[in-house]
Symmetry: C2
Subunit: 204 residues, 2 copies
C-alpha cells in the first residue's frame, strides 16, 4: 500500500505544509521498460490536479508516436472544452519542434536537440509550466550535444514550482546528483530476450 511517511525529518526549518510542496527533479533511468511510461503516468496525475503539462520528446523520428501522445492530447482537448484537468502540450524533436520554423531533419540531430533544450530553458526560467517531461533527454546529454552542467544549473535555479521528469538510459552522474528522485528500471525479465517482438499497446 502506498506509504507517505518520510524516514527522517530534516532540520530545515520548513513546516510540514511547506515540505509537502516542493518542486521535484525526477530521473527515470535503467535499461528496462517503464521509464517513459511512468513519466506519462505522472503526467496523468498532474492533469487531474489541474496543472499545466508539457512533454518534450527527444526522439529522432517524426513517425515515432506512442499511445500516450494521443491519450494525453485527448485529455488536453478535454481541458480546453470543459475546463476539466489541466492543459497539455506535446512537442517532438523528430517532426521539427512545433515552435520552430525548421522542419525535422535527419541531418543534424545535435542541433535540433540543442534547439529543444534552449526552448525548455526559456520556459523553465519563465515558469511556463507546472510539469515537464523531458523524454529520452539523457541521450543528447550522454552524446555531449547538450552540456549537463548547464542543465543542472538551470534545474537548480528554476523559479517557482515546476516539476521536471527526465527519462532515458545512462543518466549522467551530475544529473543523478542534482535530482530529488531517481528510479532505475531494472530488467528482471524481458520478452524480447525470448524473441518476442515489440507490439502495439505495449511498446508504443
Amino acid at each position: 500500500m502506498p506509504q507517505g511517511v518520510p524516514t527522517t525529518v530534516p532540520d530545515d526549518g520548513l513546516t510540514t505544509r511547506q515540505r509537502r510542496r516542493r518542486p521535484l527533479l525526477v530521473v527515470h533511468t535503467g535499461v528496462n521498460k517503464g521509464k517513459s511510461t511512468a513519466a506519462f503516468g505522472l503526467a496523468l496525475r498532474q492533469w487531474t490536479a489541474g496543472n499545466s503539462v508539457a512533454v518534450f520528446q527527444f526522439v529522432k523520428s517524426a513517425k515515432w508516436r506512442v499511445g500516450e501522445e494521443t491519450a494525453l492530447k485527448a485529455l488536453g482537448e478535454l481541458h480546453e472544452q470543459t475546463g476539466q484537468g489541466g492543459p497539455v502540450e506535446w512537442h517532438k524533436m523528430g517532426e521539427g519542434w512545433s515552435w520552430s520554423r525548421k522542419p525535422g531533419s535527419d541531418e543534424d540531430h545535435a542541433e535540433a536537440a540543442r534547439e529543444g533544450w534552449a526552448e525548455i530553458r526559456r520556459r523553465l526560467e519563465g515558469g511556463a509550466h507546472d510539469f515537464y517531461v523531458l523524454d529520452e533527454f539523457t541521450y543528447p546529454l550522454k552524446w555531449g550535444w547538450i552540456d549537463v552542467d548547464e542543465v543542472v544549473a538551470v534545474m537548480n535555479d528554476r523559479p517557482g514550482f515546476q516539476h521536471v521528469v527526465i527519462t532515458g538510459r545512462d543518466a549522467p552522474p551530475a544529473l543523478v546528483e542534482a535530482a530529488d528522485l531517481v528510479t532505475e528500471m531494472t530488467k528482471i525479465k524481458h520478452p524480447m530476450d525470448a524473441g518476442q517482438k515489440g507490439q502495439k499497446g505495449i511498446e508504443w
Copy 2:
C-alpha cells in the same frame, strides 16, 4: 531511443506477425515509485489502441484516489461519447468492489481481496477485457490471502489475447517465473529520505 529488436529469434515456428501479438503477463515490482504509474501509463497506450481497459486496485481505503483514476475515467467517458480510444473500468477494493453488494469494510480485507480475485478470474476465463491492471496485487499474495499457484494457473490458461499487469513490492517468485516482462523499480534516490513529504500530483 526506443529499440524493437529482439536479441534472439526463438525456434517456435511462429511468424514475425504472430510473435508481434502475444498476450503479456507483466510484473512491476521493487521498492521505488513508478510501479503503478507505469502500469497506468501502459493503460494510456491500450486506450489509444482502442482496447478495453480494466483496473482493479487492491487498496484498503476508499479514500485512496490517485490522479490516474480521474484521468483514465475521463478517457473512458470520452470513448463512450465519441468512440475515441477504448472503454475503461476502474474498480477499487476499499470502497467495496463495484459489482458487489458488500460495502467496503475495514474488518476483512482478506475476504475482500479474495472476492476481487474471484471476479478477475471469471473475467480472464471469459476473455472480458484486453488489458488488466491488478494494482497492489502482490500484497494479498504475499500475505497468503490469495493462492499464488492458482493465480499462475489462471494466467497461464487465460484464453484469447489479454494483457495483465500486476504491481506491488515483493512479487512472489512463482509469479516472476510465470511473467513475460518483469521490471524492478530500484531506488537510487528518494525525496522522502531527505524528509520530503508525499505531495499531490506526484504521490497521488
